[in-house]
Every structure is written in structure tokens, then in C-alpha cells.
């Protein structure tokens, strides 16, 4: 009988066998990478807005406090976005005819709201409360990143549950003294370990509370 297959076919068959198996796992590995990549998370992607609002200018440049616009951040679950009139407190006097502010003026005139694209947006089944984080010494930049360096705002973290848990498992690593909450430059000091332990006491976060931070009911209802 004659050969059915040529000489090379053997090595080819073996190669394809090995290739198939490793390819399968390789594919899922790739998916996993894509899932954590900015492509999916929108991290570091500046969002175009109808008004090109620059946090960099207003915070770093003019030194506005976060609470000037995000008024309810200490009172409510929702930090609040400024109503048009807030912008107009200044912009009725400065840059009164800057074209880039046209939508602002129009909004005030027609009393139609501005449309902002959400940058840090959690799914509807996640219930996040700003006020309690502020209250317990978690600063803005911990989650929102260096907003003062953002000409156009972008998302600084994946906001994946895994990422939330990183902090909920050991909040003391990120806790700050009250006066540092709104400091965009704040970084955990080298001796954060001791400080953190102390801060836990200051903020009345008991051990029981710490374990509780990982309950599903903390964020999901």
C-alpha cells in the first residue's frame, strides 16, 4: 500500500494539535487582558464634553474647592453636578462671550439643562455613597485620581468590583486625615501603616466594621 500522507504531514499534525490546545487557552488569556485594558474600562480616556470643562484650570489654576460645585458630596450619596447658574456666578462676568461657553449661556437662556457624559459611572445595581467615604477619611483623588491634572476629565480607575474590594479589604491603606480629603496631591506617606491604624480609631471604624465592609449588602441591594 502507498503512503496516504507526505513526510511533513506528521510534524504538521503534531504542531496543529499542540497549537490548538495552547491556542484555546491563549484566546481566553487575551480576553482577560482586554477586559482589564482601558479599551473596556475607559480608564485614562479623556471624555469629550459639549462644554470642554477643564478641572485642571479650575482646580489647579484657580484653586476652586471641590465642594464649590459638587455641593452635596458631604451630605448625600450623590456628589452633585453644578447647575448652570453655578457656572454663571463667574461666567456672567468673565469669559462672557467665549464661544466655548455658548452652551452654558444658551442653557441659562432656554433653561434647558447641559448634557454631560458620565465619566465615573457605576452600574445601577451598585449603590455608592459619597458622604460616608468622605466622612471616614477617603479622599476624592483615591478614586477619581489626580483630577487637578485633567484638562478633560477621565476615569482614573477601572471601578471593577475587584478594585473596590482592594480598598474595602484594607481601607486604612487609603485613609487620610480630615484636612487632606480634598487634597488632590495626597499620597499615602511612608508610615501610612501606623497612621492608618491611628486613623481607624479616629474615625471610629471598629474591627467588626472592617469585616462588614466586604458584605455584599454594602453596595448591592
Amino acid at each position: 500500500m502507498a503512503q496516504i500522507f507526505g513526510k511533513s504531514s506528521t510534524s504538521f499534525a503534531r504542531a496543529s494539535l499542540v497549537g490548538g490546545v495552547s491556542g484555546f487557552f491563549g484566546f481566553w488569556g487575551l480576553v482577560y487582558l482586554i477586559y482589564w485594558s482601558p479599551y473596556t474600562t475607559n480608564q485614562y480616556v479623556p471624555r469629550e464634553q459639549e462644554v470642554p470643562f477643564s478641572h485642571e484650570h479650575h482646580v489647579a489654576g484657580l484653586g476652586l474647592d471641590c465642594r464649590y460645585c459638587h455641593t452635596s458630596v458631604e451630605k448625600s450619596s450623590f456628589a452633585g453636578i453644578p447647575p448652570t447658574e453655578t457656572c454663571m456666578t463667574c461666567h456672567s462676568r468673565v469669559w462672557t462671550d467665549a464661544p466655548m461657553l455658548a452652551p452654558e449661556r444658551q442653557s441659562l437662556a432656554t433653561s434647558q439643562p447641559l448634557h454631560w457624559k458620565r465619566v465615573n459611572d457605576l452600574p445601577d445595581f451598585v449603590f455608592f455613597n459619597h458622604s460616608i467615604h468622605i466622612q471616614k477619611g477617603i479622599g476624592c483623588s483615591t478614586c477619581h485620581g489626580p483630577v487637578n491634572q485633567m484638562p478633560l476629565t477621565w476615569k482614573a480607575h477601572s471601578l471593577y468590583m475587584r478594585w473596590c474590594l482592594d480598598c474595602h479589604e484594607a481601607p486604612e491603606k487609603q485613609m487620610r486625615p480630615k484636612d487632606q480629603i480634598y487634597n488632590m496631591e495626597w499620597q499615602p506617606p511612608p508610615d501610612q501603616a501606623e497612621r492608618g491604624a491611628q486613623l481607624l480609631k479616629d474615625y471610629h471604624v471598629s474591627q467588626q466594621r472592617l469585616t462588614q465592609l466586604r458584605d455584599c449588602s454594602m453596595c448591592h441591594r
Partner: protein, 198 residues
Amino acid sequence: MTLEERATLVGFPSEVPTAAEQRTLVGFMAEFEEHEQLLQAARNAFTAGYRRMDGFSPFPIEELAEALGHDYSPVPLITLLGGIAGGLGGYFMEWYSMARLYPINVGGRPHNSWPNFIPVVFELTVLIASLSAFTAMLVLNRLPHLHHPVFNVPQFQRASIDRFFLYIEAADPKFEQKGTWKFLEGLQPLSVAEVWDE
């Protein structure tokens, strides 16, 4: 029939390959009708000092491997290792994900509720063991092996039906064309064929 007569018939043995032929002789192959004959032939060949040889049969013949002097199959050992790895890995996965990575109170059961973990451990043991057994079989048999010199031998197609073959490789130190050929003929096969690799 003398060797010379046979040579005139089948043109063999040709002392020197002609320049045109790039083929190399890789061995001789004797064809038998019953597996007992093959078995006997293998034993004889072994006692005759042949080592690099193989037997082909349409169904497994228990003693053949031994007769050909093949050593024991390492498949069982590999399987055992695979099984152990699967079991340990399985329990580690359960313990790590349930008790370390994100311990949650499920129905008041302990984080490391080992009794509930047993089934998965068992299944993974079996799974990995079987996979390693199968893979071992393939690798040790060098499968897939689509192209092989023996397939050049016309008679060989019946090796998967009702014929039994003894194959002595040219690489065998004791291999020596005339002698080996004579030896194979001496085993009263149905036929003897030369195996070429082109």
C-alpha cells in the same frame, strides 16, 4: 530457491543502490498469518540477538511487547502523578477562593467546609488523571504519526485486518542484509519484505 534465483525475480539483494535511488533501506518485515507465529518469531529474533525490532498486529497480543524486549509502559506512573496533582489543585482552588480570596458567610457554614469540597476534589482527580493517561499514550506512541516507512510495504495494509508482522530495523547493530533476510525467511513467514524510506 537460492538467493541468486530470488535476486533475478525481485531484483534483490542489489549490492549497491544506483545513483538514481535516494531511498534508504530501513528494515525488513516478515508477514505471518497467526499471532502465535508472530509471537514465536519475535522470541526467536530476540534470542537471535535482535533488539531494534517491532511487531504489528490487528489486535493487542499481551506477551508480544515482552517477547520483543520492550520495557514496561510508564503510563500508569504518569496517570498517578496527574491524579495527585488534580486532587491537590482542586482542593487548593476551593480553599483559596472560599476561605482566603473572598470569605463569605454562606448559610452559616464555615469558610473551609471541607466535607462540601470533597466531590469537586474527586472529580478533578479523575479528570486530570485521565487526561494525563491519554496524553501519555499519545506521546509515548509518538502519535499522531501519519507518515511512516512501513506504510510503503504493500502487504502492510492487512496489518490492521488479519496479518501479523515482525519488523527488524536496519539500525539494529546485528542487522546485516543477507543474514537478517535469511533469518526472517527461516521463520516460515508468508512473505518477507524490505522497508524503504524515500
